[in-house]
């Protein structure tokens, strides 16, 4: 079953742009990215769109579909009514390069600032040993495909450009949580999480978890546990006292 869908696509660059309307054929089983490709092939050859795997694993085709941050390759056309106009815009949190392509280098700059994984000394036989049960928790965060949808939807930087200086965004808060929970890592990142990466800016409204295409529970399993670890260090006198008398580990 094919039908003609109405698409509004934002076209322009950093100097300006607007939503342009197209009528595009849609076939059964297609996703938004298929239709964008057809649009590019038949009506707008210079439409800029970033994509790669078409399987929800590369994180390239992030955009906002009807106002919601989505991977275009994972957004089925069957989720829209045939008479429903589908509006596609670039990620609104980042500088636009052209059309649907944004400059996401903010994220790579923040990634470079995270203190890297620093394992403890190897065992006597030269191996690192850890149990599966110990790494299961941080492994959830390894599913991240760095599509930046969580960064895009986070109101801390989406609505306040000036907060980009102080706030790393949910993707990097769970990276900090991942490293802090790692059984082999020896670096204490709790103070840095609060002071350098802006953990306190997060008001846990969970939009990052809502948009994650990998289903990572960023807030419940990453950011809130990290906030609790910071409370241990900074705001809980009993835990602080415990660390001083040796009843609690210092890291």
């Amino acid at each position: 079953m094919s039908y003609d869908a109405t698409f509004r696509v934002w076209r322009g660059d950093a100097a300006g742009g607007d939503l342009q309307t197209f009528t595009v054929p849609v076939n059964e089983g297609e996703v938004v990215l298929d239709v964008v490709h057809r649009l590019q092939a038949t009506q707008a050859g210079d439409l800029a769109v970033r994509w790669n795997c078409k399987a929800g694993k590369c994180g390239s085709c992030s955009a906002e579909v009807n106002g919601r941050p989505r991977l275009m390759c994972m957004t089925r056309m069957s989720t829209f009514g045939e008479d429903e106009t589908v509006t596609i815009t670039p990620l609104r949190t980042f500088p636009v390069v052209r059309d649907l392509v944004t400059d996401v280098s903010f994220n790579y700059d923040k990634a470079a600032q995270i203190p890297p994984f620093t394992p403890r000394a190897r065992d006597a036989d030269g191996n690192h040993r850890m149990q599966q049960v110990d790494v299961e928790r941080p492994q959830e965060f390894r599913k991240c495909i760095e599509c930046w949808l969580c960064q895009d939807t986070c109101h801390v930087i989406r609505d306040h450009e000036d907060n980009k200086r102080a706030f790393a965004g949910p993707r990097f808060l769970i990276r900090l949580a991942e490293l802090d929970m790692h059984p082999l890592d020896v670096v204490d990142r709790k103070h840095a999480a609060q002071d350098e990466f802006g953990l306190g800016y997060c008001n846990i409204t969970k939009c990052c978890s809502e948009v994650c295409p990998e289903g990572i529970h960023l807030t419940d399993n990453g950011i809130i546990p990290l906030k609790e670890r910071v409370v241990d260090r900074r705001y809980d006198p009993l835990t602080w006292l415990g660390s001083k008398i040796g009843r609690r580990p210092r890291r």
């Binding site: 934002w10 950093a14 815009t89 110990d134 980009k164 997060c202 008001n203």
Partner: protein, 276 residues
């Protein structure tokens, strides 16, 4: 072949994460392009929370109809002044008669829920509109989150959690006392007993599913394999934690219902259905 029209170079200054460069974002005037009813959830949250706040405030200041032998309203328990009706808890002091006994204790459940990670999400979204919904612009010009006073005080949540556990013990004790009849004889049960039992059970579920509880029982550890018992606790609490939102709402409704039931009994509007 389609001719590509030149529309500028597309070059932008790379963001360096210090916020120094101008945004150069796509010029989209609309606050949101969402087409679903994103406003419904915050609206329902406001309605439900305002209804509870109004009801609980009226009841807390009413200073009457909170005890009907053998039941005491959860809003007034633990009842710690000599002015209290009933004998469900030791009377610690004599306060001014015009101050309701509920006023002394409600700071604990209020503080526990106010600093709860779920309720924070709920009221930040619905009351403070920060943000009202995902990908919907918030109306505030500045945002500092929980980095400074007063919101940095949200970090005391675990202390309200500890106090909340003590309150749960008292409310469970109240439910046990409800296995008496009007004369104080043990071995009886009525519908009110079930109401108080359900209320206590829901409060335990809400408290034990708390994010701070999850951290305290095992979340702070990096090596679960060296602490198998705490890992077991953490696993159970983690399972409960996935339903923390549901427990938050159901227990809130449960407290209000338990109070309403005692109110109706105390005013003589209804009579308790006695089982045995």
């Amino acid at each position: 072949m389609t001719t590509t029209a030149p529309r500028g170079t597309g070059a932008v200054t790379p963001g360096n994460g210090n916020g120094g460069h101008p945004p150069r974002r796509a010029t989209i005037a609309a606050r949101t392009l969402r087409t679903d009813r994103w406003w419904l959830q915050p609206l329902l949250t406001v309605v439900a929370l305002v209804a509870f706040i109004v009801y609980s405030t009226v009841r807390a200041f009413q200073n009457a109809y909170y005890f009907s032998e053998p039941y005491i309203s959860p809003f007034y328990s633990p009842c710690i002044t000599t002015a209290c009706e009933g004998d469900t808890f030791p009377e610690w002091f004599t306060g001014p008669a015009w101050i309701s006994p509920a006023i002394y204790i409600l700071v604990v459940p209020l503080g526990f829920r106010l600093t709860c990670y779920y309720y924070r999400k709920a009221y930040y979204r619905s009351f403070w509109l920060s943000p009202p919904a995902c990908a919907v612009a918030e109306p505030h010009r500045r945002y500092t989150g929980e980095t400074r006073f007063p919101l940095i005080a949200q970090n005391v949540h675990r202390y309200f959690f500890y106090l909340g556990l003590l309150f749960n013990v008292v409310l469970t004790y109240d439910a046990v006392l409800a296995f008496r009849d009007e004369t104080g004889a043990w071995g009886h049960m009525g519908l009110g007993t079930l109401v108080l039992l359900a209320n206590a059970a829901l409060l335990w579920l809400y408290s034990l599913s708390c994010h701070s509880c999850r951290h305290i029982v095992g979340g702070r550890l990096n090596s679960f394999s060296r602490h198998p018992l705490r890992y077991r606790f953490w696993t159970v609490v983690s399972r409960l934690n996935t339903r923390h939102m549901q427990f938050a709402w159901i227990s809130l409704a449960g407290v209000a219902f338990a109070d309403l039931y005692v109110l109706l009994l105390a005013t003589g509007t209804i009579s308790d259905l006695r089982f045995f």
